[in-house]
């Protein structure tokens, strides 16, 4: 089993540890949340492009996977340049990931354009789509990706439980990467929010889902697992048939025991979460 790095805008200049085989996931929305700007803003587009360029260059020839933005509506609403302010009482179940992207395609096309342009220079820069419900979602994404001139690999996230039943179709559509997003999958399967009592990535049913996905894929495509993982999950992944585990930068010390002094951006994720939360609260209080 291989270990890949997960990044949420940490501006690393070198590979933190040789045990990492590449970057399994750059979460696009965190680049925007860090900058507090949406993809519609020119400065945000420049930042995304330069960040991906830096990471793809640093990790070359290892693979680097960019995940297109996966926000909740309330997170977008507080960004500069938000194109549509969508109010959803239960945003966890709303227009997230490609649902939003496929609804407002002009913004998605900008994002795909950035990655496609870079893919001409960086053969190791690939793209993965989040919050895909079924094969129809992926087909629509691939149609737009093709028009943008992207030539590298593409993949799909399994985080909505329904996607389990479309693995054959995803493979038929040419994906090179299937990544289980364990954070959201656990919430949807157990009906429990992250951090609440009963939220348990080690739940027997979660392992059953991973195992079923691995059996269906049957090594035709690498199966990865991503999320804010704990050691127990990571320790069990290999026996469940997982090929790659994606460990977020902030978890490298805790899970892989990479020395903390080598991880100078460990607080970046926490800081961004705090910033977004404050903006949402300010928005609710009418301060912005």
């Amino acid at each position: 089993m291989n270990y890949f790095l997960g990044l949420n805008s940490e501006p690393i200049k070198e590979i933190p540890d040789p045990v990492l085989s590449g970057v399994g996931l750059i979460r696009g929305e965190y680049l925007c949340r860090y900058l507090e700007e949406y993809v519609t803003e020119n400065s945000c587009q420049i930042y995304i492009s330069s960040y991906l360029s830096e990471i793809a260059g640093t990790f070359d020839p290892f693979e680097v996977w960019y995940r297109t933005t996966e926000f909740s509506s309330e997170e977008i609403n507080v960004l500069k340049g938000a194109d549509h302010k969508v109010m959803e009482p239960q945003s966890l179940f709303g227009e997230r990931g490609v649902r939003r992207s496929l609804k407002y395609k002009e913004v998605f096309e900008i994002e795909l354009g950035i990655v496609s342009q870079l893919s001409k220079t960086y053969g190791n820069l690939n793209i993965i789509f989040p919050f895909v419900t079924d094969a129809r979602d992926l087909e629509e994404c691939l149609s737009l990706l093709s028009k943008s001139g992207f030539n590298n690999k593409y993949g799909v996230m399994l985080e909505i439980p329904s996607a389990l039943n479309f693995i054959e179709d995803f493979i038929s559509l040419g994906v090179s990467n299937i990544t289980i997003g364990l954070n959201d999958l656990t919430t949807f399967m157990l009906g429990v929010r992250r951090g609440a009592p009963g939220y348990d990535m080690n739940h027997k049913a979660i392992y059953a889902f991973i195992s079923k996905a691995a059996n269906t894929i049957n090594k035709r495509v690498p199966l990865s697992v991503a999320g804010y993982l704990n050691e127990e999950v990571v320790g069990n992944c290999e026996s469940l048939g997982v090929d790659n585990v994606i460990i977020h930068y902030s978890d490298l010390n805790r899970v892989l025991h990479i020395p903390a002094e080598k991880l100078e951006y460990s607080d970046r994720l926490k800081d961004i979460k705090r910033l977004t939360k404050k903006r949402i609260l300010d928005s609710k209080d009418g301060k912005i």
Partner: protein, 272 residues
Amino acid sequence: MANVLRGIKSFDMQGDNGSFYNDIGLIYGEGLVKELNQFITIDDCRQKIKEYIIELCKRASPNVIWYKTIDIMGYELKGMEGVENEKIEEEYYLIDNRGVSRGLANQSTFNLELKMLSEVSEVCSNLNVLFPFVRDTYQLEKCILMLQQNNFHGKFGIAIDLLATVFSLEDFLSMGIQNITIDIDHFTTFTLGADKSSSYYNTTHPSIVAFIEYISQIKNKAAVELNIAGDICGLLITKTEHINIDNYIMDHIPPIDIPYERGEPVELFSGA
């Protein structure tokens, strides 16, 4: 051939209309407390519910009656009498404190409901109980223990609201459940990650049908009934008629056809 039964969500009595009492599929505990605007902690509330269930059981006899324990969301409790010990403010009311999770977090209140049902079961041998939002065997074990401590005489079963329940179904069967009822509304929401207002919400989505087929395959290993309950549309019945469903328990009879905004997904399903 599946039966079409009625979901009871209010104190509905239809006089001497015999067929009404023959067609009761499920009593929703939360529907009754919402109508009374009193929670199960209130003596008067429990008494009214008890009398109502006894009446339904007597009229329905020898048919069985299934009562689903309360599954209520925080915002639904606002303004209700007797909710002082309940968690009401919830950022995401669709998750966390649903069904038996709320019950087991506040067992003294949950026990009042189970005690009331047990008292009914002493005089009505046709009353059974269904537990909603059961995530794992640990939760069901606790529920069964509480039933036993109250000397409940009837059978018990589980609602399927979550995929986690599906993937632990063989374990639940080994614990003696006699009824599996898929709550199609909740199951759709959690399986598609879409609430009812979303254009992605579709109870007839190929993935939903595939999981119902999967549930049926496991259920066939045991002699238990398999039902689908909730906002059932005609298309769902058409798409599941090849599956061994015992009862469709409907909120609306005849079923209302729901126009799905996103339309019918292309049939690319490849099996679970």
